[in-house]
């Protein structure tokens, strides 16, 4: 049987293997060596590799990002971690003005091999300042790679590729993926950055998604399958570089595109993907492409509102109904069974996380 571990174990294992094999790698971030170890992704590492290489840090996100960059110029390979992407807004000067441009603005003299792991919060009333999804901000900036894993396999493979990469990589982890299981080889391996994955083959419609929204997209595609509709689901895996070819190939086959992005609609990455597809595969499109995103408002805290803020499989199905001219069915009719509250990834979550 194939070995299965969780997404967070995959992150931990990859980090562990790099610390073991590459003396230039070190890990830094608020809470990295604490008892919770960034939701299990860094537990035990300090004990194994010591204080110097597995570091907590002052609550100084901007300065510490600069420190990471400076060390990277000297050949270190820092893995920096933020427990919420929201905290990173403090360090955009370092990321955008420096990390993204260093290699370019000094004419290729020194690159910045830096991985920044950013966790996206959702649920349990995390509210406006602890559950933003800011992939657009990074993806717009030349000089950054933006990685967006969904499966435990890719969590390990893409993190490995990111650490190996000689350039700054923004590695976005959705908190609701951490406990998901999947096959992950134990030995080190890499998944390619810039190559999307066709997770489900299908001929009727192409869904492009990534990170946590893959979970909802796959749920929707299951329901559709039960109803004889074959959706091709593409897991982006990285937003930048974007694997245009895989997307365009698929749309050429299906003639229909739906982009599902867990982010605010206006200038969500869905906009870029649709624009590219329209530019390069206009005549294959049988209908205008659709998108499922967050509404353009901050995340409300109360679960009564948050439950309606986050799109779920049913919202994807609604959009597919619209594009494929299917009759509008209820969640039950689509066979979606929802048990328990919607503001936690699973029932094991019973408090703040």
């Amino acid at each position: 049987m194939k070995r299965e571990i969780t997404f967070s174990q995959a992150i931990l294992e990859c980090t562990d293997q790099y610390l073991a094999n590459d003396p230039s790698v070190y890990v830094m971030g608020l809470g990295v060596p604490d008892p919770k170890g960034i939701f299990g992704t860094t537990v035990g590492l300090r004990e194994k590799y010591g204080e110097k290489r597995v570091m907590d840090m002052p609550v100084s996100e901007n300065g510490m990002t600069g420190v990471a960059i400076g060390s990277a110029l000297m050949g270190m390979r820092p893995i920096m971690t933020h427990q919420r992407i929201d905290f990173m807004l403090l360090s955009l000067d370092q990321i955008i003005n420096n990390a993204a441009k260093w290699y370019y603005m000094f004419g290729g003299k020194k690159s910045v091999p830096l991985v920044i792991r950013l966790l996206v919060g959702q649920g349990w009333g995390q509210g406006p300042q602890h559950s933003q999804s800011l992939q657009t901000l990074f993806s717009h900036i030349p000089g950054l790679k933006v990685v967006f894993p969904f499966s435990p396999y890719d969590a390990k493979g893409l993190l490995s590729a990111s650490i190996q990469d000689d350039n700054p990589v923004i590695f976005i982890e959705h908190r609701w993926l951490h406990n998901l299981h999947g096959h992950v080889p134990e030995e080190p391996f890499q998944a390619p950055i810039g190559k999307a994955k066709v997770v489900n083959k299908g001929k009727d419609l192409t869904i492009v998604s990534g990170s946590y929204m893959m979970v909802e997209s796959l749920k929707a595609s299951e329901c559709l399958k039960e109803n004889g509709i074959e959706v091709e689901v593409i897991d982006l895996r990285s937003i930048k570089p974007l694997d245009e070819d895989t997307i365009i190939q698929s749309v050429m086959n299906t003639g229909h595109l739906l982009v599902v992005d867990g982010a605010w609609r206006f200038l969500s990455i869905s906009a870029e993907i649709i624009s590219i597809v329209v530019e390069k595969a206009f005549k294959y499109l049988k209908k205008p492409p659709g998108r499922v995103t967050f509404p353009d408002v901050p995340t409300p805290t109360s679960w009564a509102m948050a439950n309606n803020f986050y799109p779920r499989a049913i919202n994807i199905l609604r959009k597919v109904e619209e594009i494929l001219d299917l009759p509008c069915k209820s969640e039950e009719e689509w066979g979606i069974v929802t048990t328990g509250p919607l503001d936690v990834p699973d029932k094991s979550f019973t408090g703040p996380f």
Binding site: D34, D86, H130, S302, N308, G351
Partner: protein, 325 residues
């Protein structure tokens, strides 16, 4: 000794914060308060000592751990509980939760959880009072970890430059989540010295002794109100419960049961109670009555919160922009 009425009032305020937060901790496992809560149990002397030196028109802002700040400034308990329960009549209409408390009727201007992010905003409210020639004082409560953010230094600099009427109150409970000071600040670092190097007078005190908090704060607020400029205060104290959530966490290796017990002995409420009994400011009966009345008030607030309606889903779209009127 303090004036007995003031002493009583401060005792009552501390007790209210304690009992309300213990109540929250008890009810939290019901899973109806579905938002993060950061309890200040053990630290109550700071909000109460500081806010007892303020006038109603003075402005207070806080951070993620601000139930105490809100209540000490006189914030409405029902609105707070309704907010924590995610209800439409919460102080932020359910949009903010425990980390976004506000009660403008008492000039409690808001709290936010991004570390230090609200500090310059408080400097800004002080700046507005300066521009308008008002004599209101602004108080900003921050955790000591917030002094590690660069914006803290920027805030000191501008407040000192314009001699703004603001008092910075740093609550030093040693930890930032599970991280001890030693992993974050050099041993030699003294925030009071940093403040002084900006030209800001400062004091460090025992945050578990409400008389000391009150006295230092009284001096600082007077300084600010008299137009002499900002003041920086730092108080040592200790958080009893976990960083976020209702439970104790001395099972975790980041701090020891002994350390916790040492600090429990320094309980700001218990020790003040003993003193007030000894000095006959209060008697046992009054204590019981106080507890009961707070208990009742809390139960009422919880009942209010529980029975209040959730926001309508369409409320997601309201309050994005203020429309011209």
């Amino acid at each position: 000794m303090l004036n007995p009425d003031l002493a009583k009032a401060m005792y009552l305020d501390m007790l209210q914060i304690r009992l309300v937060e213990e109540g929250i901790a008890d009810l939290y496992p019901e899973q109806e308060m579905r938002c993060p809560v950061h309890l200040c149990i053990g630290q109550e002397a700071i909000p109460v000592g500081v806010c007892s030196t303020l006038k109603k028109e003075d402005i207070v802002m806080g951070n993620h751990r601000s139930h105490g700040h809100y209540l000490a400034k006189g914030g409405d308990l029902r609105s707070m509980m309704a907010e924590i329960y995610g209800k439409a009549n919460g102080c932020s209409k359910g949009k903010g939760g425990s980390m976004h408390l506000i009660d403008l009727s008492v000039n409690f201007y808001g709290t936010t959880p991004i570390v230090a992010s609200i500090v310059p905003i408080a400097v800004g409210t002080a700046f507005a009072t300066y521009l308008k020639d008002e004599t209101r004082v602004t108080i900003i409560f921050l955790g000591r970890a917030a002094t590690e953010e660069g914006v803290f230094a920027e805030s000191l600099n501008f407040a000192a430059l314009k001699k703004l009427p603001i008092v910075f109150v740093s609550e030093d409970n040693f930890f930032s989540v599970y991280t001890p000071l030693s992993e974050r600040q050099p041993r030699e670092r003294e925030n009071t010295e940093i403040a002084k190097a900006f030209g800001i007078p400062s004091d460090k005190g025992n945050g578990n002794d409400i008389r000391e908090v009150y006295n230092l704060s009284e001096k600082a607020v007077r300084h600010a109100r008299e137009g002499k400029g900002p003041y920086f205060l730092e108080f040592e104290t200790y958080r009893w419960r976990e960083h976020c959530g209702p439970y104790y966490d001395t099972d975790l290796p980041y701090r020891s049961e002994e350390e916790f017990k040492e600090w429990k002995k320094k309980c700001p409420i218990e020790n003040f109670e003993k003193l007030l009994l000894k000095e006959n400011v209060l008697d046992k009966k009054q204590l019981v009555e106080m507890r009961e009345s707070i208990q009742k008030k809390f139960e009422d607030a919880v009942a209010f919160a529980k029975s209040s309606p959730f926001p309508h889903p369409d409320e997601i779209f309201s309050d994005l922009f203020k429309e011209a009127n």
